[in-house]
Amino acid sequence: MTSLDVSTDVARRPFSGRRARLGDLLLQGAAAIAALGSLALVILIAWKVIQGARLSLSTFGLGFLTHVVWDPVQLKFGAASFLYGTAITSVGALILATPIAIGVALFLSELAPGGIRGPVTALVETLAAIPSVVIGLWGILVLAPFLRDHVDPALHSTLGFIPLFGPATYGSNIFTAIVVLTIMILPIIASISRELFLAVPSELKEGALGLGTTRWEMIRGVVFPYARAGVAAAMILGLGRAIGEAIAVSMVIGGAVGVSINIFQPGQTLAGQIAGQYTSQNSALFLSSLIYLALILLVFSIVVNLLAQFIVRRSARRHGVVR
C-alpha cells in the first residue's frame, strides 16, 4: 500500500526540522487563508450587492419595499408586488411540498421494501439535480397549458368561493409557479427528512412497536417528535430555495406587476423580476433597483439559513449529539 511506502521512506530519511516546520507553516497558512477567504467572500458579496443597490437605496429608501409600481419610463420602482409574489409562491410551494416530502421520507426510511428503497432514493436525488431551466422549459411548454386547460378551471369551479381560486385565463400564472417550485423543493425537504427519520434510534421504534402500536402510531409517537426540529429546518431550507429561485419562476409566472389575490393571474417574484427584466434594463436607476431586489433576497437567504442552522444546532444539543 502506498501509505506504507511513504512512511518507511520518511523513516529512513528524516526531515530536517526547519523544512518540516516551513512545510507545516505553508500548508496551515494556505488553508487558513482559504478558510478566511470563504468568510471574506460572504462579506464581499454583501458589500458588492449593497454598493450596486446604493443608487436605488438613496432614491427610494425603505419606501421601495411598500411601493407596488415598477415603471422604467417614469423611473419609479418598488418591490411590493414582488415581495407579495415571492411570499405567495414560496409559502404555497412549501404547503404543497411538505406533506408530500414527509410521505416520501417515511416511505424511504420506514416502509419501502429493500429492493426498491435504493432506486427510489436515487430517483428522488436525481429530481433535485434537474436544472431549474429544464424544469422551467417543461413548466412553460408542457405544465402550463395542461394546468390552464384542466386543473385551473376545475379548481375554480369547485373552490371558486375562496378568492385565491378566481377565474383562470392564462397558463403562465402564480399557481403554475407554485407547482414548479413544489417540484423543485420537494426532493430537498424529502432527502433531509429521510436522513432525520433514519437517525431515530431503532430501540425507540422497536420499543413502541413492542408495546403494540401500529406502524403509523409509532411514527406519530416516536419518529415525528424525535425529528421535529430537523424537519422544521428542512422546511426552512426548502423555503429559502423557493424564495431564491429565479429562472424557472420567471419562465412560468407570467411577469406581471401588481398584487393579485387570484393565483390564476400572472404575477412576479423578486428573483423572477431580476431574471426577467435584467436584459431590458436601460438606466442606472433601473439596474440599481434590480440589485436592490437582489439585496432583499440576500437578506432573506442569510436570515433563513441562520435560522435553520440555529434550529439544527439547538436540537442537536438537546439530543445530546456532539457536532
Binding site: 488553508a31 468568510l39 429562472i247 431574471a275
Partner: protein, 301 residues
C-alpha cells in the same frame, strides 16, 4: 393471537380495526407520495426525451445557433457554441473551486479548533444558501462593471456556487479517515503537511471526486448568474473566455422564449443533453462514492 390478551389493546375490537385502518391509510399515503415524486421526475424526463430526441444529431454538436435566434428555417441548427462555452466556463469554475474548497476542508478538519470549525462550516452553509442570482450581481459588481462580460466572470460566479459544495463534501470524507492513519504517519516522524497531503488526502480522493462531480453537475445547469455576467454573446463557436460565451442553460432559457417551433425544438434538445449529462455524472458520483467508501474502510484496518 387474541388481541384482548395485550393490555394496550384491551379496548373493544372495533377500535383495533380502526387503528389498523388508519395505519393502512397512512402507509398508502406515503406510498402515493413516493410514487408522485418519481412521477414528477418521470414526466419531466419523458417530456424532454420525447421532444428532444428527434433533434439529437451530429449537427447539434457541430453547428452553432443562428444569429438573432430567428433562423430562416431552412438552415441547420445546433448548439455547438453553447456546449463549448459550458465546457470552458465549468472548467474555469472547477479549477478555482476545487483547490480552494479542498484547502478550506483541510483547515477545518486538520487544523482548526472547534470554535473556528463551527464558524467556517456556518459560513459555508450561508454561502450555499445565497441565491444564484445574487451571486450573479456580486460578480457583476466585482468584475463586469468596468471590465465587461466574459467567460472568466461566469466561471468565477459558478465557482462561488461550487465552493461550499466541494468544501462540505471534502470535510465529510476527511472526517472519515481514521486517526490511526494520521498517528502512524506522525509517529514515524512525518511532518504534519506531509501527513495531510501525502497520507490523509489521498485516502479521500474518491469522496472528493464524488463531491466535485455532483458540484459540476449542479453548476453546469445554472442559468441565473450566467445571465447576469455572460449573456451578450457573439456568433459562432468561441473558446476564448476573455469574451462572453454562450452556455447550454442560457441557450435553453433564451430559446424557450421563442414562439417558433425550430427554436423550441433546439431548446428541448439542449435540455435533453443537459439531463443526460447530469444523469451520467450522478451515476459516476455514485460509483465513485461506493469505491471510496470501500477504500477508506480498508485503510482503517
Amino acid at each position: 393471537m387474541s388481541s384482548s390478551e395485550l393490555s394496550v389493546l384491551r379496548r373493544p375490537n372495533d377500535r383495533l380495526g380502526r387503528r389498523r385502518a388508519i395505519n393502512i391509510f397512512m402507509e398508502l399515503v406515503a406510498w402515493l407520495a413516493a410514487a408522485l415524486a418519481v412521477f414528477f421526475l418521470g414526466i419531466v424526463v419523458w417530456s424532454v426525451a420525447r421532444k428532444g430526441f428527434s433533434q439529437l444529431s451530429l449537427d447539434l454538436f457541430t453547428k452553432s445557433q443562428p444569429i438573432g435566434q430567428f433562423g430562416t428555417g431552412s438552415e441547420k441548427l445546433g448548439l455547438a457554441n453553447a456546449f463549448v462555452g459550458t465546457l470552458v466556463i465549468v472548467g474555469i469554475a472547477t479549477a478555482i473551486a476545487l483547490p480552494f474548497g479542498i484547502l478550506i476542508a483541510i483547515y477545518v478538519n486538520e487544523f482548526a479548533g472547534k470554535r473556528i470549525k463551527n464558524a467556517v462550516t456556518l459560513t459555508l452553509d450561508v454561502l450555499a444558501g445565497v441565491p444564484a442570482i445574487v451571486v450573479g450581481f456580486f460578480v457583476y459588481g466585482l468584475i463586469v462593471v468596468g471590465r465587461g462580460q466574459s467567460g472568466y466572470a461566469a466561471g468565477f460566479a459558478l465557482s462561488v456556487l461550487m465552493l461550499p459544495l466541494v468544501s462540505r463534501a471534502t470535510i465529510e470524507v476527511l472526517a472519515l479517515v481514521p486517526d490511526s492513519l494520521r498517528e502512524a504517519a506522525l509517529g514515524v516522524g512525518a511532518p504534519r503537511w506531509r501527513t495531510t497531503l501525502g497520507i490523509v488526502l489521498p485516502q479521500t480522493i474518491g469522496g472528493v471526486l464524488t463531491g466535485a462531480t455532483l458540484a459540476v453537475a449542479r453548476i453546469a445547469g445554472e442559468t441565473a448568474p450566467v445571465l447576469l455576467v455572460c449573456s451578450l454573446v457573439g456568433q459562432g463557436i468561441n473558446w476564448n473566455p476573455s469574451q462572453a460565451l454562450m452556455t447550454v442553460p442560457l441557450a435553453i432559457f433564451e430559446l424557450s422564449d421563442q414562439a417558433d417551433a425550430p427554436e423550441q425544438a433546439l431548446a428541448w434538445a439542449g435540455a435533453l443533453v443537459l439531463i443526460l449529462f447530469i444523469l451520467f455524472t450522478s451515476l459516476l458520483a455514485r460509483w465513485l462514492a461506493t469505491r471510496s467508501r470501500r477504500k477508506i474502510a480498508q485503510a482503517g484496518r
